[in-house]
Amino acid sequence: MTTTPRYALSQDLFDRAASVIPGGIYGSKSPGFSVPGRFPYYFTEGSGCRIKDADGHEYIDYLCGFGSMILGFGNPIVDDPAIEQLRKGDLLNQPGPAMVELAERLTALIDGMDWAVFAKNGTDATTLAVSLSRVHTGKPYVLMAQGAYHGSANWCSSNAYPVLRDKDEVRLFPYGDVAALQALFDELRGQVAAVILTPYHHATWAPQQMPPAGWHEAVRRLCDEESAFFIMDDIRANFRLNLHGSHRAMGAKPDFVCMGKSLANGYPIGALMGTEELKKTASNFFITGTFWTSTVPYVASLACLNEMERLDVVSHVQAMGARLKQGLIKAGMEAGYNISCTGPDAIPFMTFDDDADMWHNQEFSAQMATRGVYLHPHHNWFLSYAHKESDIDETLEKAAESFQEVKKAFQGEF
């Protein structure tokens, strides 16, 4: 069994954590989600596209705070005004002016959206969208794609026990399958409040799947026929496909757009946006959270939006992602592997063909981690504005070495 003293301090911390925190580290950040024993569990700092783990090792990072750090860690354009606001006060009983400014900015920026409410995490936004859909339509059912991730709330997460009824009125369909979605609408005639989708399918533990031709149009048509809402969960892809919303990049016309992650370059804020039709329902719905009006994230978000627009971040992350994808495919081929890099260029994920169970991914990612590159074995990756060509090229050099190590590890097995 391969374990390594390289991560001794991470492991010590986890050992302590396991005594006092259920699971030690929970959810998608738990060691079991990476390659336990061969991955760092704790990080201490980040700068640009590089992060440092608790043992002091530096990594070129391709997880970007699960997508949030679109401009890179420690970006002064975002951090300086945020820190200034922090010194003046963050949670100030009532919202600050930045909340209004951000709502105005977003309604002007995001295609088809007329209002915005703010929360902390993506789960807040998706759950609110589902609730508002049900209240507005008076119908209970929500349809979502199998394997899709819309947050950690019980209605959409893997939490499933007989006493939790949150999933009772949530039904699943295979992503991209119009006939299956139509069949669900037929079966639940008059009962469907909403369909919730991501701009493309980024299920964990699997290659990413772009929408088939006509998919979003078909969803829109079915929703219209059944007077159901179309919720676009743009949280993960947020601002990496199009600054005006991923739905513009995908030609989709949703009624709600859920945002978070890269909205404020790592500051905790999520947003739900909607069309004029839904505004009254939203205003009559009790929406709050003690920290949802904290001012710092709003200030950070405004700075982040301005900077993303000024720098044309979308073009940059797509170009860097394309360079990474092409280089990985080439390096893989040179090592004798057929690999697939799926998803948009800015949000790629690599899998080894003929290895649906991801044994190779795990070894490859562990090897890359040893070499100072953080590539998640099971979750899609992210590019940021801080990734430059030199970072990609350094990554590819290490990938070439890692592919050779993967070959050695699986000699005779596959």
Binding site: T2, Q11, F14, D15, V35, G37, Y161, W205, D357, M358
Partner: protein, 276 residues
């Protein structure tokens, strides 16, 4: 007659959610575990094998609602089979409560029903194997590496069978079980000295000792026998061992992640004691 009080070694002190467990669930899981252990003891414990009376006979553990575990003995070779008849002796438990508590080492009514002249041999063989299974699982002092290996083998056999049964019948964890993808999880020590597997095929979960019957989709691996023993007896926190890399999970990891709540549930089932 039965000496399976070892079954509470899993997660000792685990809080049992009585409201979500029924005697039927406990009886079904425990009887499956007893059957699997009996077979494993016959296969791996020479002394027990030699004590088994020669000849052909069978034992049926029978509970309400058609619950039966059928063990077939053929000159010392023991197989668990789908029910193929009445057997040489039926060990009938009038209620799930009786079955659950008796198979957990507590009190409960058990009515032996002899059906052929070989019934005494059958009862003796079952007594030998089930008692030995209990002893091997409860053993914590080891004179040799082989003893340690053997105990881990028994515990792993019991746990995997218990998880398979739990996955098929426990309504509390049904959604968790349903979420596990089809395929095989191999569970083993790093050097392969002890191996077992759990397979899901449709609604059927099965388990076995040794190498998996087909290439595994996921592998749960203990760095050595002591780690495996620690995890199965609850003396080594599995989470910490995972963090240290002494327990590794590879391949289709969600299958193993789906296994964990079932293992915990199995621990609850083993610790269940309606009398307390």
């Amino acid at each position: 007659m039965l000496a399976l009080s070892f079954l509470d070694v899993y997660h000792p002190g685990a809080m049992v959610n009585q409201k979500t467990l029924t005697a039927e669930t406990v009886a079904r899981v425990r009887s499956g575990v007893v059957a699997a252990l009996s077979v494993a003891v016959a296969e791996s414990d020479k002394a027990s094998f030699e004590k088994i009376p020669k000849g052909r006979y069978s034992v049926v553990l029978a509970g309400p609602k058609g619950l039966q575990r059928y063990l077939n003995f053929h000159h010392g070779r023991v197989q668990e089979r789908e029910n193929k008849g009445l057997g040489s002796v039926i060990l009938r438990f009038p209620s799930f409560q009786d079955m659950a508590t008796k198979l957990g080492g507590g009190s409960g009514t058990l009515i032996p029903i002899p059906l052929s002249p070989s019934f005494l041999k059958a009862a003796q063989a079952f007594q030998t194997l089930s008692s030995r299974g209990g002893e091997l699982c409860a053993r914590r002092e080891f004179s040799t590496e082989e003893e340690q290996r053997q105990t881990l083998d028994m515990l792993m056999t019991a746990a995997l069978r218990g998880v398979a049964e739990t996955a098929m019948i426990d309504s509390w964890t049904a959604a968790k079980s349903a979420s596990m993808s089809h395929g095989i999880v191999q569970v083993q020590t790093q050097n392969g000295s002890v191996q077992g597997w759990l397979k899901r095929d449709g609604k059927v979960f099965s388990s076995g000792r040794g190498a998996a019957p087909a290439p595994a989709n996921a592998r749960l691996c203990f760095s050595d026998e002591s780690v495996g023993l620690g995890v199965f007896t609850g003396t080594l926190p599995a989470l910490k061992a995972l963090g240290r890399g002494h327990v590794s999970i590879r391949g289709r990891v969600p299958m193993i992640q789906a296994l964990f709540p079932l293992l915990d549930r199995f621990g609850q089932i083993m610790a269940w004691n309606k009398e307390s």
